[in-house]
Structures are given as C-alpha cells and as structure tokens.
Subunit: 157 residues, 2 copies
DNA sequence: TATTGTTATACTCTATAACTATA
DNA sequence: TATAGTTATAGAGTATAACAATA
C-alpha cells in the first residue's frame, strides 16, 4: 500500500473490489462522492457542512483561536476567517480579544450557539444515518467499526 | 442508527469515538475533511477529482451516456455536461451521436484517454496511499476492509 | 408528454497573495 | 523577524432554471 511500490492494479480484482479498483482507489472514490452528497443534502440544520463542524468543535472543545480551528479542520486561515465571520453574523459564536496576546482572537460559542447545537444534533447526521440503515447489517457494522480509523486518517499530520 | 430514533448522543462516549461524537457523526466529519484534502492535494494526475472519476468509469465500463454518468457519480446532468466537455477538450473522451436514439450521446474513451489512465493509475491514489501508510496496522486493515462498504454507501440509490 | 442533453446563470466553498498588527 | 489574523481576489466545482431536440 506504499506509494513507492504500488500494488499491481492490473491483477485480478478480489470480489470485494468494486469494478476492479484497488481498495485505495475505492476508498478515494467513495469519499469524494459521499462528501458531495453530504454537502448537497445539507447538514439538515441549515448550516454549511464546514460551519457546522467548526461550531461543533468550539462547542465540544471550548474557546479557541481561528488558527487552531483552521489547523484542526484542515482549511487555510482565510477560509476559517470567513467561516467564523459567518457563525458570528448568525450569533452562534463570539469573537473576543485574547487576554494576553493582542494578535490572537478567542472564538467562543454563545448561548444561541449551544442551543442550536443541542437542537440540531440529530438533524446533522439524519441523512447519513438513514443511508447507513439501508445497507445490510455486515456493511453497517463494518462502517461503524471503521469510523474512528477514517477519522484518524482524515486528521493525520 | 435510525433517523427516527437516533441514539442518545449525550450518553458517555465509547473510547473509540473521537471527542464523544457518535459513529455517524464521526464518519460524516471524517468524510468531509478527507474529501477536502483529497481535492486540494489534487489527484496527482492534474485532473480534477470528478473528471478523473468519470474518465476512469468510462475506461472501466465502456461507452455510455452523460445521463448515466451523472447518475453514477451523483452529480446533476448540467455538471456532467461540463465535465465531459472538459475531458473532450483534453482529447481524453469522444462524444458521438447515439446510433438509434437521437437524443442521446455516446461518451467513449479515446486512445489518449486510455494511455492517460494507464500512465496515471498510481498517481491518482498516491497521496491517499501514503497517508494510509502512516496509520497503525489495525487502522490500515480496518480501512481496507471497509472500503467496499463505504463504496456501497456512497452509491446507494 | 416524457426524456435527454445543453445553455445560461449563480452560488458555495476554498485557495493564494498581500497586508496589518502584535510579539 | 516571526506569528495571528484579515482583506482582496480568484478559481474550482456544482446547482437550478430555462430551453431545444427527439422520442
């Protein structure tokens, strides 16, 4: 599975590989399609997917800086500026000056933001949960089991 | 895991759930972040991710119509028109009139397209394969095993 | 009328480059 | 000089709506 010595993809595919793709290619294709559908289906809470993720992170991890949020969600700082601006405009987070470092900004969740999070918990994952329910039990178990590994893959580095 | 009766997410999280998220929420977040990174990292072959996927599909499955490609990749027909146009401009696919149905179009791969596919096979998955290699063996196995299930999830309906 | 595909248009998301302020 | 954040700008990717051609 190394990049330097990739497996021979012209070999006969195992029965588990859709259309003869390698597992890595299968994973890549699936992630790209699924992300497109997730974005389009909307979170269900009316918040763009990344804004929703950022709000959830501030909720779970407490006040933090735009820079740390950008690194955590793997977006560039200017993108995070825009996301935080949008959340602030909606009254879901607050931007305060950092107590000791004048360059930094503290992003905190507001009461409205917390209420929003609690109210929309189920909505955010409803569409995906419904899709998963349509798979057979073996696939459902497999995905449930693999979720943390996929999370670690996504947040490497 | 149903949407109608979602699990109680306020319950104590299992140790496998990052930051106390449900598996579905974990899966959702991971897919969104990973897709952003995959797109930005580029396929490695210089082709936008979706174009790469479409070209690969035409290569594997033979001549087909824009409509079928749109349904297979879960994009809207006008988006597929643009993708096929771009591939055609690069000489990687050909658009021909359907032999019997004047409304349809046949999209086929060209010799250049086939050469491109074969030449860039490894490149397309190189970045992801490298990331996977950095995980521990248990996670690697888990993801390899779950890839087909994720593929089925992505292409439901 | 229904289906296939395209054109025209606009929006969402994210990036890079350049800048400001603070350390 | 280095770091944190923002502003300005641009581009990729995708969608919806309206249309044309064919069935």
């Amino acid at each position: 599975m190394t990049a330097d010595a990739p497996r021979d993809e012209t070999a006969a595919p195992s029965s588990a590989d859709p259309a003869g793709l390698s597992e890595v290619a299968t994973l890549r294709g699936a992630v790209l399609v699924l992300a497109r559908r997730l974005r389009h289906q909307q979170a269900g809470d009316g918040l763009p997917a990344t804004e929703s993720a950022v709000l959830g992170r501030v909720f779970r991890e407490g006040p933090t800086s735009p820079g740390r949020l950008a690194r955590a969600e793997h977006v560039q700082p200017p993108s995070m500026t825009r996301i935080v601006e949008s959340l602030e405009r909606q009254g879901l987070v607050r931007r305060d000056p950092h107590p000791t470092d004048g360059r930094q900004v503290q992003v905190s969740i507001t009461a409205d933001g917390e209420e929003f999070i609690e109210r929309s918990r189920a909505l955010r994952t409803a569409w995906l949960a419904r899709q998963i329910d349509r798979l057979d039990p073996a696939d459902r178990e497999m995905l449930t089991a693999a979720a943390p590994a996929l999370h670690r893959l996504a947040h490497l580095e």
